[in-house]
Structure formats: structure tokens, C-alpha cells
């Protein structure tokens, strides 16, 4: 695009790139900077201060599920543009760009897998795909994951990281809230369990639907879990926000999540829960 070639050298206090965003491998908490392989080796958790970096959906599946156990389902589902939505750019263009950037067809990957030898269904979100927003395809995939879990008689483990409903599909995105809620209720009626892991951020439409309906709710440390984000709350109410506004720790204190689990302990924790729900079977 631009004919200029920028050369930068990675170092601990990496310079802020244009657009004011720090380098994705620079820890926003302690400024430590890592190579990709260093971060991957530490499950994308800062070895210095414990900050949890975002994890892409595929990487998350590798971290959580037993090797080679995951089989993706409904991978061919793609969104169309029901409203011919056009803001500064057409929605279809944003979709294509997100697919190129993430290598995923949508903001959620579903499929069957196993964690510590216990079979389960998995539904993992990708924040890099349009902010992990939920449109019709994400809703459809989650509903199918519920159905798959019910059919196979295994629990569903969901990992959410999302800004909420996708504006570009308008009211149809809002309809994904009741759709996913109904899917969870059907799963529960079939005797199935939902274990909901909430990563940073899990907000708005997803927090206000399936993510909050897990039989067990687990959050990652420092994850923002709020219906409305801090900036909007600040702007609308002019209230002084507590330092830990909407964070997992605050949610834990107020009784909205069952546990805050650091990423290295997530897989064993899920294994333990799956064993408990399997009840000796």
C-alpha cells in the first residue's frame, strides 16, 4: 500500500507504533517485550508480571484440548450481509479483511474434542475477527455446539472474548442473544452442562446471553466482564469508576463468577470440572 518501508527494532520499551497502539508483544502492564515463541511458550502470559495477553482461537484450542483431539465443525459457515450494511466501509469488505487477518471464517470456532481424556464440545471465540462480535454465524455456531454436546451427551466448554453483538447485522445480531439462550436451555433440558470460560473482554451481548448461563463460570485474571464498558459508563454517568471496574476480580467479589483461573491452570481446572460433571461415567 504505502511505498515506504519501515524498519523497527524490538526492544524492551518498544516504541509505540503509529496509531498509538503498543506492539502486541509488549506487556501493557510492565512493558516487557517478548518474541512470539517466548509468549507462546508461556501460554501468552507475561512471565514478569502475569498479565494475560489475548489468545487466538486456534492457539486456545491447542492450549486446552488434548493433542490432535479437536475436530472442527461447521467451518464452512460464512456471514452474508443481510442489511447491505455500509458505514465507512461495506460490511462485506470488513468480513473479507477479518478472514484474511485471522484465517478463520467467523469469530467463533466450534468442534468436538477432549480435555484430559474427557470428551467435550468446544466453542472458542476469536477477538481478532471483528472484535469477536456475535452476528448470525456466531449465534448459529454456538447453537450447533449446544446441539452437538446434547447429541453426544458431553459438556460444552465455551471460551469467550468479545465486544458483544455485531452492529453490522443490526437487529438480527440482537436476536442472537435469545437464540443462544434458547440453545443453552435446550442443552440443559437434555441434561448437558455448559462450562463458560470468560477471557478478556467478555462484554455486552455475549455477557448478557450464553456466557453468563454456564453451570460454572470461570474468568481469566484481569478480564473485563461488564455489560457496558468503562468508557461509556464514565461518559454517561460521570461517576468516578472504581479502579477494578468490571474486571474479573470485581465480578468475583460481587458473586458473578465462580473462580478466577490463571491460564496455566485452566486446562487442569477444566479437566477437573469435566470429571465432576461426568460423575464417574
Amino acid at each position: 500500500m504505502s511505498e515506504r518501508i519501515d524498519v523497527s527494532i524490538e526492544h524492551k520499551h518498544a516504541p509505540i507504533e503509529d496509531g498509538g497502539r503498543p506492539h502486541p508483544n509488549t506487556c501493557p502492564k510492565c512493558d516487557s517485550h517478548y518474541r512470539d515463541d517466548e509468549l507462546e511458550q508461556h501460554l501468552n502470559v507475561c512471565p514478569q508480571c502475569g498479565h494475560h495477553f489475548p489468545v487466538h482461537a486456534r492457539e486456545r484450542l491447542r492450549q486446552l484440548s488434548d493433542e490432535d483431539s479437536f475436530v472442527e465443525e461447521a467451518a464452512d459457515l460464512r456471514s452474508d450481509d443481510p442489511l447491505d450494511f455500509f458505514d465507512l466501509r461495506p460490511y462485506t469488505e470488513r468480513l473479507a479483511e477479518a478472514e484474511l487477518a485471522t484465517g478463520l471464517g467467523e469469530a467463533m470456532v466450534i468442534g468436538r474434542g477432549a480435555i484430559e481424556d474427557l470428551p467435550c464440545q468446544l466453542a472458542v471465540m476469536e477477538f481478532g475477527f471483528m472484535g469477536g462480535s456475535m452476528g448470525r454465524i456466531v449465534g448459529e455456531k454456538f447453537a450447533r455446539a449446544c446441539e452437538g454436546a446434547a447429541e453426544r451427551g458431553v459438556p460444552l466448554v465455551s471460551v469467550t472474548t468479545t465486544g458483544g453483538a455485531r452492529m453490522q447485522e443490526g437487529i438480527l445480531s440482537l436476536m442472537q442473544l435469545p437464540k443462544t439462550v434458547c440453545a443453552v436451555e435446550d442443552l440443559h433440558d437434555a441434561g448437558g452442562a455448559l462450562i463458560s470460560v470468560m477471557a478478556h473482554p467478555t462484554t455486552a451481548g455475549v455477557l448478557a446471553s450464553f456466557a453468563s448461563l454456564g453451570d460454572v463460570l470461570v474468568a481469566e485474571p484481569g478480564a473485563l466482564l461488564s455489560f457496558t464498558g468503562p468508557r461509556v459508563v464514565q461518559q454517561t454517568t460521570r461517576e468516578k469508576l472504581p479502579e477494578d471496574f468490571g474486571l474479573a476480580e470485581s465480578n468475583y467479589r460481587y458473586g458473578h463468577v465462580d473462580a478466577i483461573v490463571p491460564r496455566p491452570e485452566l486446562r487442569p481446572t477444566l479437566g477437573r470440572l469435566l470429571r465432576l460433571f461426568a460423575n464417574g461415567r
Binding site: L77, R78, M167, L174, C182, A208, A211, S212, V233
Partner: protein, 313 residues
């Protein structure tokens, strides 16, 4: 999908035309309005018309939930409090007699003057409001009373306490409870159907929308602030995400449009209430006699299949 919406409207039209002529005067205006809706679906609505719906949905003289309750319900008994720690005046709930039935009604409530607006928090509910809604709907389920919900909320309240009390979880659980109801549930969006705050009480067997109401995933201002980075572009945002009743019908999000008098519900509260009452009564009649299991199953299928997705791009 447009064809389906058109069919439904045509059906409504022909039903109205076949009614006895006694109510002729009022009917003819309804016929005209339905014809207008049909024309709207046939031709695209202009951005101006869409924005007009947004303005009318927020009109300060528009009837609110209690205005309808006063005109449609007998022996209304309002329920207060969520039985946990508060009573949210932004959401009202109660039991009353509606056209020969005991019905539980849940509705968002805005205020008419400054004092009441503040007391009712501009209709923006706290989790306590959804707690009250859930309690009222559970009561209905226990006793076999149908549930009617009226939706008119700019959005669930975005505040610190609201978050601390679990706004997201409350909205999710209220929907979950509605998906389990073994009694008929009818929703009508009577003003602003704002985002999660609205859907919390809108997971119903029949979802209706008044002619000038809007139903949105986010407020036009919020959408403009995020996508256009300028809240002033709300008109463009509204035109892009099409929150008006005709589009919602076309997309299969709602089942029918409830006509409003003349320029809009604000000019004649009595007439608006009569039209709304007719629509609610008709929906209740349709659902009468269905078993709890059937209601639940159809309700969930309804939401499972809204906006069916294409197989591949």
C-alpha cells in the same frame, strides 16, 4: 423473506376488510395504515422516514406502559421489588384483568416530567428491574397466567452499581426464564427497543411492534460513535441498521405491526391503547389452549430460526 412479511400484512388487511362495518370509521383508517405499511415494504423506506420513526419512538408525549395499563387493565395490582434488595421504578410489573383474563404484565416505564423521569431513571433498568420482571413472570408461570411485556427502553442502565449488581447476568437469566415459561408470552415494542435491555423481556411467543417503534442492537448514537466515531452521525447509523417496524417485520424479527392513530401514538393515547389492546387480545386468543411444552418448543424454535443463515458465502 419480504414476501412472507407482505403475506402477513395482506392477511391482516383482508381480515380487517372482512370485519363488520359497525366499527367502520376507525377501521378505514387502520386499513389505510396497513396499506401504507404494505407500500413501505414494497418500496424502500427513505432514510428520512427511518429517522422519523426514531424521533416518534422517543416522542415525549408517547404513551408509556402505565398509560396503556390504565386504559387496558382492570383491577391492576402493581408488584414492587425484586425480593433481593430493591425496587426498580424503571420497570413495572403487576397483575391485572385484561379482556376477561388475569394477566401478568411487565413493562419498561419512562417518566413524564423531570421529577418522574429521574425517579424512573429515564426508563433504564437496573438488574433489580430484571429481578422484579423474573419474579413476576415466575408468578405467572406458577398460576397459569399469560405474560404480556411492553418494551420501551433506551438501554439497560450503564452505571457502576448496575454492573456490580450483575447487569449482564440479569439480562441473560431473564431471557432464560422466558424461554422456560409454560404460559403464553406476548411482547410489544411500544417505543424504544434498546439492545440487551429490551431483549431481556422480549423472548416471547409473539413479538409485536407498534408502527413507530424502533428495535435496535445499539442506539443509533452509540453505533455512530463506534463506527463513524461521531455520535452526531446517528441518522446515518439508523439508516444503515434499519430499526423501524417495517424492516423488523421484513427480517422476521417481529410477527406483526400494531397500527398507531394518525401521526403517531402521542396524539391520541386512548386510540393507541385500543389498537394495542386489540393486537394483544388477538395474540392471546391465538395462543390459548396450547400446552406448556408446545409453547416452549415453538418459542425456542422461533428464536432458533430467526434470520436463517446462508450455507456458504
Amino acid at each position: 423473506m419480504a414476501g412472507e412479511a407482505e403475506l402477513r400484512l395482506r392477511e391482516q388487511l383482508s381480515r380487517l376488510r372482512s370485519l363488520p362495518l359497525l366499527r367502520g370509521a376507525k377501521l378505514s383508517s387502520e386499513l389505510q395504515r396497513l396499506q401504507k405499511q404494505l407500500d413501505r415494504i414494497g418500496g424502500e423506506q427513505s432514510d428520512e422516514e427511518i429517522w422519523r420513526s426514531v424521533e416518534l419512538a422517543r416522542h415525549p408525549d408517547r404513551p408509556y406502559t402505565l398509560d396503556y395499563v390504565e386504559r387496558l387493565f382492570e383491577d391492576w395490582f402493581e408488584l414492587h421489588g425484586d425480593r433481593q434488595h430493591g425496587d426498580d421504578a424503571a420497570l413495572v410489573a403487576g397483575i391485572g384483568r385484561f379482556r376477561g383474563r388475569t394477566v401478568v404484565l411487565v413493562g419498561n416505564q419512562k417518566g413524564r416530567d423531570v421529577k418522574e423521569r429521574t425517579r424512573r431513571n429515564f426508563g433504564m433498568a437496573y438488574p433489580e428491574g430484571y429481578g422484579k420482571a423474573m419474579r413476576a413472570m415466575e408468578l405467572a408461570d406458577r398460576h397459569g397466567f399469560p405474560v404480556v411485556t411492553l418494551v420501551d427502553i433506551p438501554g439497560a442502565y450503564p452505571g457502576v452499581t448496575a454492573e456490580q449488581h450483575g447487569q449482564g447476568g440479569a439480562i441473560a437469566r431473564s431471557q432464560a426464564l422466558m424461554s422456560r415459561l409454560g404460559v403464553p408470552a406476548i411482547t410489544c415494542v411500544i417505543g424504544e427497543g434498546g439492545s440487551g435491555g429490551a431483549i431481556a423481556t422480549a423472548l416471547a411467543d409473539r413479538v409485536l411492534m407498534q408502527e413507530n417503534a424502533i428495535y435496535t442492537v445499539i442506539s443509533p448514537e452509540g453505533c455512530a460513535a463506534i463506527l463513524w466515531r461521531d455520535a452526531g452521525e446517528a441518522r446515518k447509523a439508523a439508516a444503515a441498521f434499519k430499526p423501524d417496524a417495517a424492516h423488523c417485520l421484513e427480517l422476521g424479527v417481529i410477527d406483526a405491526i400494531v397500527p398507531e392513530p394518525g401521526e403517531g401514538a402521542h396524539i391520541d393515547h386512548d386510540e393507541a391503547a385500543r389498537l394495542l389492546g386489540d393486537a394483544l387480545g388477538e395474540s392471546l386468543d391465538e395462543l390459548e389452549g396450547q400446552s406448556g411444552d408446545d409453547l416452549r418448543r415453538h418459542r425456542r424454535v422461533r428464536f432458533r430460526t430467526i434470520g436463517q443463515v446462508p450455507a456458504t458465502r
